[in-house]
Symmetry: C2
Subunit: 315 residues, 2 copies
């Protein structure tokens, strides 16, 4: 007796290769849970024998029958489609959201520069006094030129900005509004990413924060691939260009990739960047493994250890 299973169902053949029993799959779910059916039939017919090459060849001849062909194509298509459908995990969504935030950052930056150039015809003194684009946009939407200049202790009459009519100011304000909305969308998307990460990778999130964590997963391609990477790779993820330059020309190797934006590194003095990056990558490597295998939450402890180490280094 032989047992053979394909995408159609599970078949039991006798020694002469006649079908003794068949259990056809009526849906993809049954196909996915075929192991139960296989076990049942194995028990029922007391099959212990594995298929040998000759038996397999004869059995496959049984399926070389036109009646199976179109069904075979259909079922495989269904299966592929369903696999594709289900391949969209939380990390895919997280990566798309991260890409979107990166693109929003670029757009906000470039549009803000254009807005400043435009607005500076009207009120250059204020534009120069504010570094942050976000604050700049908020203030010019909220306040009039007089107020803004008053805060800088400048008399409106002394401003070198031109007096623009309301019609000329309107398109400038509209652009500022749009940039303000882009900032809001960025914040909303970050909130969404934060929720996704709470479920998908709470440990990475605790160690890295939302943006750095999401960028690491984006660069790795998926949570699984990140969890398989050694700490040394995680450390320079996103600094591939510098790495290849190092390998080709012998220039200094990069000390950090996307983790350079991590709070601990960003606020540390330059000479400690390498050390902290190594310790940080180490903890991220642990966190990603725990997250991928859905272990219990240890992110807070990892983070705490890092901060202690950092305190020690800076003392």
């Amino acid at each position: 007796m032989y047992l053979f299973s394909s995408i159609f169902g599970v078949f039991v053949f006798d020694e002469k290769f006649n079908v003794v029993e068949e259990a056809l799959f009526s849906s993809l779910e049954e196909y996915r849970n075929k192991s139960d059916i296989i076990e049942n039939l194995k028990d029922k017919h007391k099959i212990t024998q594995e298929l040998n090459e000759n038996a397999l060849k004869t059995i496959l001849l049984y399926f070389k029958n036109n009646k199976f062909f179109s069904e075979f194509y259909d079922k495989n298509l269904q299966l592929t489609k369903s696999d594709l459908k289900n391949s969209v995990g939380d990390d895919t969504l997280l990566i798309r959201a991260t890409n979107s935030v990166e693109e929003l950052d670029k757009s906000i930056n470039f549009l803000s520069k254009r807005l400043r150039e435009w607005y500076e015809l009207y009120n250059p003194e204020f534009s120069i006094s504010v570094q942050s684009h976000e604050k700049f946009v908020e203030e010019i939407l909220e306040k009039e030129k007089e107020e803004l200049l008053k805060e800088l202790m400048i008399n409106v009459a002394d401003s070198i900005g031109a007096d623009l009519s309301q019609e000329d100011l309107e398109p400038i304000r509209n652009l500022a509004h749009q940039i303000y909305d882009l900032y809001q969308l960025r914040k909303g998307t970050l909130d969404y990413m934060s929720v996704l990460m709470e479920a998908l990778c709470p440990n990475i999130k605790a160690v890295c924060g939302t943006i750095v964590g999401a960028k690491l997963i984006e660069h790795a391609g998926s949570l699984r691939r990140l969890s398989e990477m050694p700490a040394s790779t995680i450390q320079i993820l996103g600094a591939e260009q510098a790495l290849f330059r190092h390998m080709k020309t012998g220039a200094k190797p990069p000390r950090h990739g996307v983790i350079v934006h991590h709070q601990l590194i960003a606020k540390a003095p330059d000479r400690l960047h390498g050390k902290i990056a190594r310790a940080l990558a180490d903890k991220i490597s642990i966190a990603s493994k725990v997250d991928y295998f859905q272990g219990k939450f240890i992110g807070d402890k990892l983070r705490q250890k890092l901060e202690e180490k950092f305190d020690m280094l800076t003392k």
Copy 2:
């Protein structure tokens, strides 16, 4: 008798260089209209003599007096500020608006690509079926996945897109909304530019349309500079890179710069591009001169001649 005018006022000196009469300017306006005052005083004192070098030296010594110094500084500052204020003409505003539209185009393009990547996890079949980003954004905001697939005669169950929850769809929709708003802002800014150009350069607008006309003025730097350019320069404005490549390496010279986006060139067969570009640049050169010197409107005639020529060429 000598007459000398400076930023302070107009002074009349006798042969011994004593001040006989002085008319101090009380405001910048008076300084700007000083020619009247000068004429009056010249008539009154019957001054015909021009200042010679020796006389000028002696007179300047009179102003080498501390009491004039701070006033001199203040008045010059006032004058410079006022000139800066008034240097913002309609063409400056037009250039800023054009820059903004160019940046909006880039942002819309990049964000739309990100939106598509993200949305394609959910409904790839629809995204692939629509070329235009604008139409894509509008449709996914208006209709549900079922409707969109129905129009493509695809059953929802057959879609290879994942079934996303409302929470996962929301940030995608928000991004689409934002891009929709960017399109609206772009349209609004173009309307504003159109109004500006109606007053500033109606002839250029009639010959080139809003965008191409505005980009020409932007590349030239101002309407004045555009009006001073020969037609051959206008023809390749915006193709500087190709021009320098031609000069350096002997590669083909560029046939057109920003005017390549002009309707007449865009819809013409490639072999005619050079000819039409030359004719078009010719008319733009005329239009810009008429606009700068605020001559009467001939834009419609110029445009008509171009179209006749174009019809002849394509026949």
